[in-house]
Subunit: 431 residues, 2 copies
């Protein structure tokens, strides 16, 4: 950490997709990076992987090791780049790195979502930084936007498309008019979905990310259990088409928003108006909207995954730290001061709903349904009878805004009607 | 500039729309800003305006003056915020401020576009900063995105909607199907266009902004004369409708792009595909796309004008400088190292074209036109005959990509055809 230090030196833990992206960027943009750092270069010295021999053909001057202590105890290494993902052993590696006074850059959303407070305190204690731009939105510099771009704003809400896999699937469902399982298989074959797609499809991945954005944008510390999340596995092509007819596109929206003196954080499939900019976000792209008390509405959009985009975000953190090392400055970052705030339950969420029902095709059936609506004080903004088949009619209803708890009681009452054969789908509407 | 300094102190020059926005943000978000600065507050001490008495009702503790030297020579003042706009006397004020070792934050696009090199050198010489986030894209933190978010990328191109007034007009033209003059008058009445809208409508405003983005994103120093610009005053509703039928939306696009070893910078009305995210940018919003060699395609979107959004951008610069003052750090900013590069002429620009012709409604007329196309090696990707009226047919043609110079010769040949009564419109197509 002296000014005469010839280069900022990195140790990589993990050398998969993202690690190799960082390696490629360090090599390809080396001259440019050195120029931006006023002549100081950035070098990777050591790479820690489980099976070093497997990666020999990919490296030139870097040392491969399977012992992470080679990195933690190396006085040359300034920054540890953790890109193995998952909780174990990555948690221990980050704790080790910080305790050895190494700056840490990580792409690990699960770890940051779960252990941000511990990491921030440990980093402060050892006077080093932990940065995690790549943990949300791949190459999109969303965390830096809140830190420096919107720094003069109180953010009211942050919401958007944070998972590329599910956005790819929803795009294909709609555009190719195929069933969920077919699209998922294609996505897996193309590398847009993992062999086990559970974390993406269930909404858990986006839930981790909204926990992080709640910290970064709203400056509030919430936990993964505070986030209501629901995935896209129950989404059917029929509903995507019916909602399209009504002017909506279905997207998996993650959001965190201040509601009076509480915070609400959730991930669920949402029907959004086709002319909203988020409706235009296709395939594996991500986009994040935010509302600040001064700047108003903003959006940032880009590639949510991939070796080089994610590597670009990791490198931007490395350059941030490198600037500080060069200036012999220790600049504590802002997320260390996180507030707490009560969490609004999903039951109190106010939203519009789309419902699809199978109903007896008989006189008076619709009347019974509309009566149930008015008894439950649910306002119908649209009711459309779709197909009729074998004495069963398909009916879709769009409600006006209602609390989830009230909607759930209403749903029970609907189920109790003899003319209602089934509630086939429920999708929340509006941002 | 000592660590014990009780507050970061501002002097404002100008107290119009943007200046009052900064004032409101300093007051409204005071506690939050102090918290982000680790306890240090930001105060406005002095405001310089031509007629101080006019503003007395708007200020509390601030001193109003009509003498800018009260700001330049005040040892308490750390940062001069120039928000009067225009070249004269703002240029002198910035030179004075920098020469008095004051940091400068400005929203002045014309000045930065014209005098960036002078200002950067002067700032370096006096070891202070000049920041100008608010000069492009209003509240959108576009300059900070290139500085910190995409810092590990070589940017290939930057393009987008940089002028809110013209985007508002084009949106209304299309959505309300009204003529240009009607829409302009409404925009003026609503405050979305100035009484003299020339700088906006002619494309000059966007041209200044693309000069700045060329410096910030591509790290190249170009001048306003290097930018080919063309406004929206010749855009007719007919063409907006015809292009809509073909799947395009007309937007005023500013762009700077590396083409081989040259740079091309231009502003002109462009027909872009309706499913491109820029096509969704409505009313006074701005959006900027960029392509980086690692991160790929990104977009950032938000309010391109207005008191509080622009004030938010000014304040983000103030906070950046405040951090550095607090850390007793002088951090030279990146744009000081600008390269030069030959500029590609508009004649060598490769683009598709949309042309609308009035043609004799007689046998063989279309054949003469298509022959002229093939003689000039212009490939037609679409030719549609629209209305026929009084022996005149309206024909629209969409070409494939061609150099502007070749297209211009072709246009001359078309004009020479006896069957062509007039070339009524030419609009470039594609991003």
């Amino acid at each position: 950490m002296t000014a005469s230090k010839p280069a900022i030196t990195l140790g990589l833990i993990g050398f998969g997709n993202v690690g190799q992206g960082v390696h490629e960027i360090v090599n390809t943009n080396q001259a440019m990076i050195a120029q931006r750092l006023g002549g100081q270069s950035v070098n990777i010295k050591t790479i820690c992987v489980r099976t070093p021999e497997k990666y020999k053909h990919l490296v030139q001057t870097e040392t491969l090791t399977n012992n992470p202590n080679d990195i933690f105890t190396d006085p040359d290494i300034d920054i540890v780049v953790e890109v193995i993902g998952g909780e174990d052993p990555a948690y221990d590696y980050i704790v080790q790195a910080l305790s050895h006074k190494k700056h840490v850059v990580t792409a690990n959303k699960e770890l940051i979502a779960k252990h941000k407070k511990t990491f921030f305190e440990l980093a402060k204690q050892h006077d080093v930084d932990i940065l995690f731009e790549a943990s949300v939105g791949g190459g999109i510099p969303i965390i830096k936007s809140f830190k420096v771009g919107y720094s003069a704003n109180q953010m009211q809400s942050v919401y958007g498309i944070l998972n590329g896999t599910t956005n790819y699937i929803l795009t294909k469902l709609f555009e190719d008019q195929q069933a969920f399982d077919t699209v998922l298989k294609d996505a897996q074959a193309l590398g847009f979905a993992e062999a086990d797609p559970t974390a993406d499809v269930s909404g858990l991945d986006a839930a981790y990310k909204i926990v992080i954005l709640t910290a970064v944008a709203l400056k509030l510390d919430i936990q993964i259990d505070d986030v209501f999340y629901q995935g896209i596995d129950a989404i059917q092509l029929t509903d995507i088409q019916y909602l399209n007819d009504m002017g909506f596109r279905v997207k998996l929206i993650a959001k965190a928003t201040r509601v009076m003196d509480k915070v609400f954080a959730a991930v669920y499939p949402t029907a959004i108006p086709v002319d909203h900019p988020l409706a235009m976000v296709r395939n594996e792209f991500n986009a994040i909207f935010s509302m600040g008390n001064m700047v108003g509405e903003s959006m940032i959009y880009g590639k949510g995954a991939g070796s080089l985009p994610t590597g670009s975000a990791v490198m931007s953190d490395i350059l941030d730290i490198a600037f500080d090392i060069k200036a012999q400055l220790s600049r504590r970052h802002l997320e260390t001061s996180l507030g707490t705030c009560p969490v609004l339950s999903i039951d109190d969420n106010q939203t519009e709903f789309y419902i699809r029902l199978s109903v007896s095709d008989e006189p008076g059936a619709l009347e019974k349904i509309t009566n149930t609506c008015s008894d439950a004080s649910i306002n119908i903004s649209k009711l459309i009878q779709k197909e009729r088949l074998n004495n069963t009619a398909t009916v879709v209803i769009l409600t006006s805004q209602v609390a989830e708890s009230a909607f759930n009681s209403f749903k029970q009452k609907l189920k109790g009607l003899s003319v209602v054969h089934a509630i086939d789908a429920v999708i929340r509407v509006g941002l």
